[in-house]
């Protein structure tokens, strides 16, 4: 996407690629972006925490949460971070075939997670919890929905990388692109860990 610095150990950094921090531009840019995203999710997590004790009517968290189910989907998302790491390692050593397997696995795990969210939301809706039922419904669905949107965007990104690899347009020289995508994917996973802990696990 930009004047990328080649990240493999084999390439040598000549003086034109020297960066003040030692980090490539895209990587540094992604870190800053992810830092700002922390504050974005922080706003919605704060709203959720504030409203947890202010439910006037309608279903409460304890009544609707299915912790075992959400634990399984959370675990799958966590595993997708592992496959992401494996995908990056594969492309760094120019193993295109393994790269495609692992990046596809990451995307698929993400899709399973999203599927689990969809199922979970439908269940909650049938139990009487909607966006407009109470402040719990509002803050819960908006927070997890926005997170799900971020996961979905990540899945699209990963599948694009997979498609480019199948067309021989993504090689070891582009490992940095995969690394940057990985940073985003890991972030989305970390946010979920925070949400899962704060929203699901810690009782009112």
């Amino acid at each position: 996407m930009t004047d990328a610095v080649i990240a493999t150990g084999a390439a040598h950094l000549d003086e034109h690629e020297h960066t003040g921090t030692g980090l490539a531009n895209t990587k540094l840019g992604m870190w800053v972006f992810l830092a700002s995203e922390c504050l974005f999710f922080g706003g919605f997590i704060s709203a959720y925490l504030l409203y947890r004790g202010r439910i006037v009517e309608g279903p409460t968290p304890r009544e609707v949460y299915n912790i075992p189910f959400t634990s399984v989907t959370s675990f799958i998302l966590l595993m997708s971070s592992l496959t992401m790491v494996l995908a990056l390692a594969a492309i760094q050593r120019a193993d295109d075939r393994r790269f495609r397997i692992w990046i596809l696995a990451t995307a698929l795990f993400g899709l399973v997670f999203i599927g689990g969210q969809v199922y979970e939301f439908t269940e909650f809706y049938q139990e009487g919890l909607a966006l407009s039922t109470n402040v719990f419904g509002s803050s819960f669905f908006v927070l997890t929905g926005l997170h799900g949107a971020h996961v979905t965007a990540g899945i699209v990104w990963l599948l694009s990388l997979w498609a480019m690899s199948t067309q021989q347009k993504l090689g070891a020289a582009d490992a940095e692109r995969v690394e940057v995508a990985g940073l985003y994917w890991h972030f989305v996973d970390v946010v979920w860990i925070v949400i899962f802990t704060v929203v699901y696990l810690i009782p009112t």
Partner: protein
């Protein structure tokens, strides 16, 4: 940095459907450019147009308030005017002007050829322009925003058909601001990576021009402040359109949550607005005093301190909301604390000027005006930090006076100083000095006539955001004076525009260094070539360019070096070693330097956003589809397009 890095084999159809643009002159080149200098000019010109528009809105406000029970505007029109005046000045003038200067001068000042992400830079501009047009299209499409620039809930968050504010104004406002926020964050990321990564060899952080330091702090503030307000605006949009209950008190929601999130953004925002101005003034004062900035390191650290402390004072905008004595005491004390690094800067600026050899040309007049006016604004801010006193002052004309002193007397004065200072570098022509002085004096007089009386009006009980006031309150004369002052301001802005027009026709040609500057941008031609520097300079000291021209004698007095700009070999003892190549060294004509190529896709991708915006405001899913398609197509094509086209 900016040499060719082909990381992909060239796709056969570049960018899918669109051939790579090749224009280097003419309108088309401006639409597809990724050159930070052109983008800086675009930001600046667009922001100045919005400045005039917001100024007219201010004049209409003042015409309505010139006397009691005014009938120039209806209440509905007035409420729209003050909302749009504030929203425009903050988001479409103040922030973009800083980005304009930052864009043009950060790469030049750090010895780089462009920013880290040239196409992202252009994307940021398009989002700014399209976001501004989107916001103003509301006048013709169902009502302009009228909930105030801060949009408190539940006034702005109830659904359209039950709304306390009829019409789509709040939707345009919330969606428009989210759009503009996206542009701001991309600029911020760009500046951070540029400043941290692309400095010329030898330019350590503590050798950077102070303006660059301030822009670095501002970029971090922007990247971290926009997300909470984006969250708050999304909550408004959800409450209005999807039935959520975030700010519905009957359901347990809390309107105060909005204020916390908004001001968590809002306070850093005011530092985002003023720090660039402080940076500009910190550049002008040393040049026109012919001595260095007094206490550079302290000024840097004060800026960083303000950046940090600014996150801890947000609730001083909420002293009347009933937070309780402990909370307001804490925020009051934190607010007093932040006055300390601010004061330090003022004294350091005065220390810079003291003992100098001052040239009182227009940029310097504005910089000195900044010191005085910003100080007054800062002091009224200190009175705000005294919580009990603030419960009388907040929401009255006293606070309107305060923030106009810091934002107009501060930021706008600094911007005008910067315009006069850097105009020759950008356009190769001087602005007329006599018109410049007239501009300054009209602005100083008009500004004080307009905003000083507001302190008194506020203390005498006149609330803000009021479309009329009663007879017999004793406010008539001061309000009339304020209105007259506002027209003097208008005259000063008109003077500037006349100056620009005349300079374009017959301004004196400016050489590379008309002011005898200190920083690297003055080592290039006026305007600089596309590649900025024929050879990237090697920096040996702060104000490296100055040290190639001058040294000091035994008493520390200024001594010019023979044949200014000569290389280190002829420097006398005392000049710093490693002073860089002179301009003209190396490839004089820039041959062999590859710059990033122009591109359509920042514009294409940016176009997706207003389409999605209209879909959101009018709740029309059919519009959302083309919006998404355009956005995703632009994003994808951009991603696979190489930064630099094959020759």
């Amino acid at each position: 940095m900016t040499t060719v890095q082909e990381t992909l084999p060239a796709p056969r159809t570049v960018g899918l459907l669109l051939r790579r643009p090749r224009a280097t002159t003419g309108l088309w080149s401006w639409l597809t450019t990724v050159d930070h200098k052109k983008i800086g000019i675009l930001y600046g010109g667009t922001a100045l147009v919005f400045f005039v528009i917001a100024g007219v809105e201010g004049l209409l406000i003042r015409l309505q308030l010139a006397g009691p029970n005014g009938t120039v505007l209806t209440a509905a029109q007035y409420n729209t005017m003050f909302t749009m005046h504030g929203t425009t000045m903050v988001f479409l003038v103040g922030m973009p002007l800083a980005v304009a200067f930052g864009n043009y001068f950060i790469p030049l000042m750090i010895g780089a050829r462009d920013v880290a992400f040239p196409r992202l830079n252009m994307f940021g501009y398009w989002v700014f322009l399209l976001g501004g047009l989107f916001l103003y299209s509301s006048f013709f499409l169902g009502g302009a925003p009228d909930g105030g620039w801060f949009g408190y809930t539940p006034l702005t968050s109830t659904p359209l058909n039950q709304g306390f504010l009829p019409g789509r104004g709040p939707d345009f406002w919330a969606v428009g601001l989210i759009m503009l926020g996206i542009g701001s964050v991309t600029s911020a990321i760009n500046f951070i990576v540029t400043i941290l990564n692309l400095r010329a060899p030898g330019m350590t952080l503590m050798r950077m021009p102070l303006f660059v330091w301030m822009m670095l702090v501002v970029a971090f503030l922007t990247a971290f402040a926009m997300p909470p307000v984006t969250a708050a605006l999304l909550m408004i949009i959800f409450d209005r359109n999807f039935g959520t209950l975030f700010f519905n008190a009957a359901a347990g929601g809390d309107p105060l949550l909005y204020q916390h999130l908004f001001w968590l953004f809002g306070h850093p925002e005011v530092y985002i607005l003023i720090l660039p101005g402080m940076g500009i003034v910190s550049e002008i004062l040393p040049v026109f005093s012919r001595k260095p900035l007094f206490g550079y390191a302290v000024v840097v650290f004060s800026g960083i301190a303000i950046g940090f402390l600014g996150w801890g004072v947000w609730a001083h905008h909420m002293f009347a909301t009933g937070l309780g004595p402990v909370a307001v005491s804490a925020f009051g004390l934190a607010t007093m604390l932040i006055a300390v690094p601010t004061g330090v800067k003022i004294f350091n600026w005065l220390g810079t000027v003291w003992g100098g050899s001052l040239r009182l040309q227009t940029p310097m007049l504005f910089a000195l005006g900044f010191i005085a006016m910003f100080t007054l604004g800062g002091l009224s801010g200190v009175t705000h930090s005294i919580v009990p006193a603030d419960t009388q002052q907040t929401d009255t004309y006293y606070v309107v006076a305060h923030f106009h002193y810091v934002l107009f007397g501060g930021l706008v004065f600094a911007i005008f100083g910067g315009l006069y200072y850097w105009w020759p570098k950008v356009f190769g022509r001087m602005l007329d000095e006599r018109l410049g002085k007239l501009n300054f004096w009209l602005m100083l007089i008009g500004f004080n006539l307009t905003f000083f009386p507001m302190h008194i009006l506020g203390l005498q009980g006149m609330p803000r955001r009021t479309y009329r006031y009663a007879e017999g309150m004793g406010w008539d004369d001061l309000n009339l004076l304020v209105t007259l002052g506002s027209f003097v301001i208008a005259a000063s802005v008109a003077t500037f525009l006349v100056n620009v027009a005349l300079s374009t026709r017959r301004g004196a040609a400016a050489g590379p260094d008309p002011w005898d500057g200190r920083t690297l941008e003055w080592s290039t031609s006026s305007p600089p070539p596309e590649y900025n520097f024929a050879a990237i300079p090697r920096v040996g000291a702060r104000d490296d360019f100055w040290h190639r021209k001058y040294t000091e004698d035994a008493q520390g007095r200024l001594v010019p070096l023979p044949a200014g700009g000569a290389d280190a070999a002829t420097a006398t003892a005392g000049s710093p070693p490693g002073s860089g190549h002179a301009v003209g060294d190396g490839h004089g004509d820039g041959h062999g330097i590859h710059m990033p190529s122009p591109s359509y896709f920042p514009l294409v991708m940016a176009l997706g956003l207003p389409i999605l915006g209209y879909a959101a405001v009018f709740k029309n899913p059919w519009l959302a589809i083309p919006g998404l398609v355009v956005l995703l197509y632009g994003m994808y094509a951009w991603a696979i397009e190489p930064a630099t086209a094959e020759d």
